[in-house]
Symmetry: C2
Subunit: 138 residues, 2 copies
DNA sequence: TTATATACTACTTAATTGATAGATTAAATT
DNA sequence: AATTTAATCTATCAATTAAGTAGTATATAA
């Protein structure tokens, strides 16, 4: 069970935008190059993040990307969820129509609790925390 | 990011073996039928669980399967890990040769911590706990 | 109006998932 | 000893998903 590269690249992208001291928008080309990621692939990843509001963009010459809101208001969940699709370990956590043993199933509780562990973490941890972690390492 | 059906089926299989009051081995056929899972598919899932020691088997007529050890000594990790492969959200959590920014990468810490949350849960929670949960519901 | 960079759409390739099918082996029963 | 039973082994397959490419359209600054 692995996180998709979309989420991993997306996280690195958001960190790159977050540590951008400049108020000038950053070119995707530059992030792609410095992170060693395909620019075309990154340009697809950006879309759902923009839809979620954590990224804002500017088209045309001198365009680029900025954080859509302060890093302290961006939860990891806001980054991972749009890229990973709705985040739960099994489908029956979300809807009960899939399985006729939904009510009585003890194993569902397990997957449910494990999903919650991750969701809680992603809700509490913000991009600002990630940036601090990064600065501490550098 | 979903748990594979292998793990889900494996968990239900282990619970079925766990609530088997009889000391007689259980036929895979019967579990497959009552759980609505392909017997052939289940027979593949059983192999890595047996290798891990959480299942013991008996061939031939009146054969079948039993728990390999007391349910209290079977951690969820012993069920999920053999079926899911080594359990971590990104490869760079395990080995550092994949990425040349291993040391300095702050995002890796995120995936690392999320992986640990799940592993800790799976280490603490046992099949016995799952069985209790099941009995409570029935 | 030209250069630049984002936005959109379609396609491709490889890997993984979730099975199915059939032959083989071991043990108990007849 | 022959037969039945059920686990074990090996191979294959179809569908889906993941990961990435390619090309066009659009908006904006100079």
């Amino acid at each position: 069970m692995r996180i998709s590269t979309r989420s991993r690249y997306g996280m690195r992208l958001m960190l790159a935008l977050g540590i951008n001291e400049n108020k000038k928008p950053v070119f995707l080309k530059d992030i792609a190059q410095s992170e060693g990621i395909s620019e075309k692939y990154l340009s697809q990843i950006v879309i759902p993040l923009k839809a979620r509001g954590v990224i804002s963009s500017f088209r045309g010459a001198h365009g680029g990307y900025l954080l859509g809101k302060p890093a302290s208001q961006i939860r990891l969940r806001d980054i991972i969820e749009p890229l990973e699709g709705d985040f739960c370990l099994v489908d029956c956590v979300k809807s009960s129509d899939i399985c006729d043993k939904w009510e009585e199933c003890a194993t569902r509780d397990i997957w449910n609790e494990m999903s919650s562990l991750l969701l809680n973490y992603m809700d509490e941890f913000t991009l600002e925390d990630l940036i601090k972690k990064h600065r501490f390492k550098h």
